[in-house]
């Protein structure tokens, strides 16, 4: 309880106070608490596109993370056998390198002279990928797609691990029992494995969606001038425009949307453990 007050309520209270203040002189660190609700409306007016973009990119990245992470976790839990530990370690290996360097590496991979485009060009697939919306007029880097790819790449381990944990807890005897009752492997998966692994998917979704929505490094490094996300805007309000109140208001709005979203999500899909 104490730490909740110290690390959650006090910062939130400070943030809200600043968000409702004015800063008479942009250069001086003085605030007047004036119930300035207009900070909120002007932040929403000005940064609506970035808010929408942040949540759309994060949603896309989360879906991709499930699509990649679930099969991988399934393989690790049930099929990897003696290689399980090694493979699980490999999932974690990227964390030994800084987040930033890994993202910068993607600049090289996706760039004009990088392997990704070389592959597409050699096999003359660029028109196909353009049509599918994977590349934009022959370019990979500096596109929204690259940003979503970067988010997916950076956060997929946070999807794999919770799913793996929930799958790994499943008693294999349950599946055998299902098969004894004449279920096909597909039915056994759908009726036994999938429901039991949902808590992992739920946790993984939270662990990927929330940081993705707040991330700005991928958008800055892999995107273009039209892909900036809410994190960059908050930072610019603070550090470039010295507009602390509006930055605080924007942070607050962003957190409020996420909190409400998570609660709704927990109600709809969550398990008792997490939504309780």
């Amino acid at each position: 309880m104490l730490w909740l007050i110290l690390f959650f309520l006090v910062p939130m209270w400070t943030l809200l106070r600043i968000a409702l203040s004015t800063k008479p002189n942009a250069y001086l660190p003085e605030y007047e608490f004036t119930w300035e609700w207009s900070n909120f409306s002007s932040a929403v007016d000005r940064f609506q596109p970035e808010l929408v973009r942040s949540f759309s990119y994060a949603a896309a990245a989360t879906v991709l993370c499930i699509a990649i992470g679930y099969p991988l976790a399934y393989f690790l839990a049930f099929k990897a056998g003696k290689y399980r530990t090694v493979l699980l370690g490999l999932v974690m290996v990227p964390f030994f390198i800084s987040f930033l360097i890994r993202t910068i590496a993607w600049q090289t991979i996706l760039g004009q002279e990088g392997p990704a485009l070389w592959f597409l060009q050699t096999f003359r697939l660029v028109t196909v990928t353009d049509a599918l919306g994977i590349t934009s007029s022959g370019a990979f880097l500096n596109t929204p797609q690259a940003v979503i790819l970067g988010l997916t790449y950076n956060f997929v381990p946070f999807m794999i691990l919770p799913i793996y944990v929930s799958l790994e807890k499943i008693e294999p005897a349950l599946i055998s029992a299902g098969q004894d009752l004449y279920s096909t492997p597909r039915q056994a998966f759908r009726r036994i494995v999938l429901p039991l692994s949902l808590p992992g998917v739920f946790a993984g979704t939270l662990l990927t969606f929330i940081p993705s929505a707040g991330d700005y490094i991928n958008a800055e490094l892999l995107g273009n001038v039209k892909t900036s996300m809410i994190g960059s805007q908050i930072s610019k309000l603070f550090l470039k425009e010295s507009n602390y109140p509006e930055a605080a208001a924007l942070s607050f709005i962003f957190m409020a949307i996420i909190t409400v979203g998570v609660l709704v999500y927990a109600r709809l899909l969550g398990t008792d453990e997490l939504s309780a």
Binding site: P11, T14, L15, I18, N25, A26, Y27, L28, P29, E30, R46, S98, F99, L100, I101, I104, Q107, T108, G111, Q112, E113, G114, S137, A139, L141, N142, P211, G214, D215, Y216, I217, E220, L221, G223, N224, V225, K226, T227, S228, G231, S232, I234, S235, K236, F238, L239, K240, E241, S242, N243, Y244, A247, A248, S251, M255
Partner: protein, 408 residues
């Protein structure tokens, strides 16, 4: 943003990732942001207010002369082969030996606005003392600090080498006689291009808006560089910038951003993009290009309409603990011999008279630098570059706001 590293880690990481570490390297990224969501009181608490000066009406300077703390941009002073800036034989090493002053040299000045909003404003603005005795903001930020009264007047009697300062710095409207600052290094912002991708040379800022370069052009996040160069292209003089001419330049930037001509706005990440072929042409800083491998064929030019000149200035924040030591340091680095060693390493334009002669006398590679027009621009070149005009507080905030909306 739970898993993002904090500032110093990020800074170190980028430094590792970049083959070419240059100053301003975090400019576009605003990497203080991990803390941003935590609220300003937290930021203020993080400000480097090591000794609090106490009083609310501005701390009095200390008379410390045995140690000195300097906050400077990255890769902006000579170092030994291991990257140690205080080793024997380096400028700082020699200074320590000659004066007995112990120097703490921090490469933590990443961005003017960021330093202002994290350190100058929350600490100096409350009349407290910051940890650094010397900081090196860019000229326009130095001007702002002079205006706010947040800088100590330099004890010019203790800095005889102040006379070695290049004359043009002595009659700036915001600090005539340069009593509150001494320039550290200067540079020129112009246009750079990769001839293999542009298929020819660029001469004008407006060449960047050629349709064939669509989506292959980057501009700088430094507002004064991007806006100033576009103003030149529109026939206006950035030295006399006013709201109307700036707005006209911003209109142009907005239009070219919306139609996809400008891919993004960057700090000096543009170097990577230029080398990798992701960008064909961009705005660039002279010192960056001076250091590039000539085999890459990257070209740099001051546009025919004119280019932007900037400089970073050593300043002593109000209430600094070691003002006498700071004066000794400034005197030391304004000795042409010492200044020449720094120039050899950083390859920017030196504000100290006599550096060119020292380099010529050294012969070899040093003499080659002495004839590099980007490091020692001739009179004709200098006549073509200007610094951006002064803006009022309100105008500055409005312009920066609009610029941020455009840069995304």
């Amino acid at each position: 943003m739970p898993d993002q590293p904090t500032d110093p880690q990020l800074a170190a990481a980028i430094e590792m990732a970049r083959r070419m570490s240059r100053r301003r390297f975090l400019t576009s990224m605003g990497l203080g942001v991990g803390a941003a969501a935590l609220g300003p009181s937290f930021l203020a608490a993080c400000g480097s207010s090591s000794d609090s000066g106490g009083g609310s009406e501005g701390a009095a300077p200390g008379n410390g002369d045995t140690k000195l703390t300097i906050s400077n941009w990255d890769a902006y002073i000579d170092e030994d082969a291991n990257g140690n800036v205080t080793a024997a034989g380096t400028t700082i090493g020699d200074f320590q030996k000659a004066t007995g002053i112990k120097v703490t040299y921090n490469k933590d000045f990443n961005d003017n606005d960021e330093y202002f909003n994290k350190i100058y404003s929350p600490v100096l603005g409350k009349g407290k003392r910051i940890a650094a005795d010397i900081t090196v903001p860019t000229y326009w930020m130095a001007a702002r600090l002079v205006g706010l009264g947040w800088l100590e007047e330099l004890p010019l009697d203790d800095i005889p080498n102040h006379k070695n300062m290049v004359d043009s710095y002595l009659d700036l409207p915001w600090d005539p006689g340069a009593e509150h600052f001494m320039p550290w290094q200067a540079g020129i912002s112009g246009i750079a291009w990769n001839p293999k991708l542009t298929g020819g040379d660029l001469t004008s800022v407006n060449d960047l808006f050629e349709p064939k370069l669509k989506g292959k052009v980057t501009f700088l996040t430094e507002m004064r560089d991007s806006v100033g160069l576009v103003m030149f292209g529109q026939g206006n003089d950035p030295a006399d910038a006013d709201v109307a001419t700036i707005d006209k330049a911003l209109d142009k930037l907005e239009e070219e951003t919306n139609n996809g001509q400008i891919l993004k706005f960057t700090g000096n990440e543009y170097l990577r993009s230029l080398e990798n072929g992701d960008v064909a042409a961009c705005l660039a800083w002279s010192g960056d290009i001076a250091q590039l491998d000539p085999d890459l064929g990257i070209q740099f030019a001051i546009p025919e309409e004119g280019g932007m000149q900037w400089f970073d200035a050593m300043t002593v924040p109000k209430g600094a603990a070691n003002l006498p030591a700071a004066a000794e340091w400034m005197n030391f680095v304004y000795d042409p011999e010492n200044a020449a060693r720094i120039t050899e390493f950083v390859q920017y334009i030196s504000p100290v008279k006599g550096v060119q002669e020292v380099l010529e006398a050294k012969g070899g590679e040093a003499a080659e630098l002495a004839s590099n027009p980007l490091i020692f621009p001739d009179e004709e070149t200098l006549a073509r570059v200007v610094t951006f005009g002064e803006l009022s507080v309100e105008d500055e905030i409005e312009v920066q706001k609009r610029f941020n909306d455009i840069t995304g």
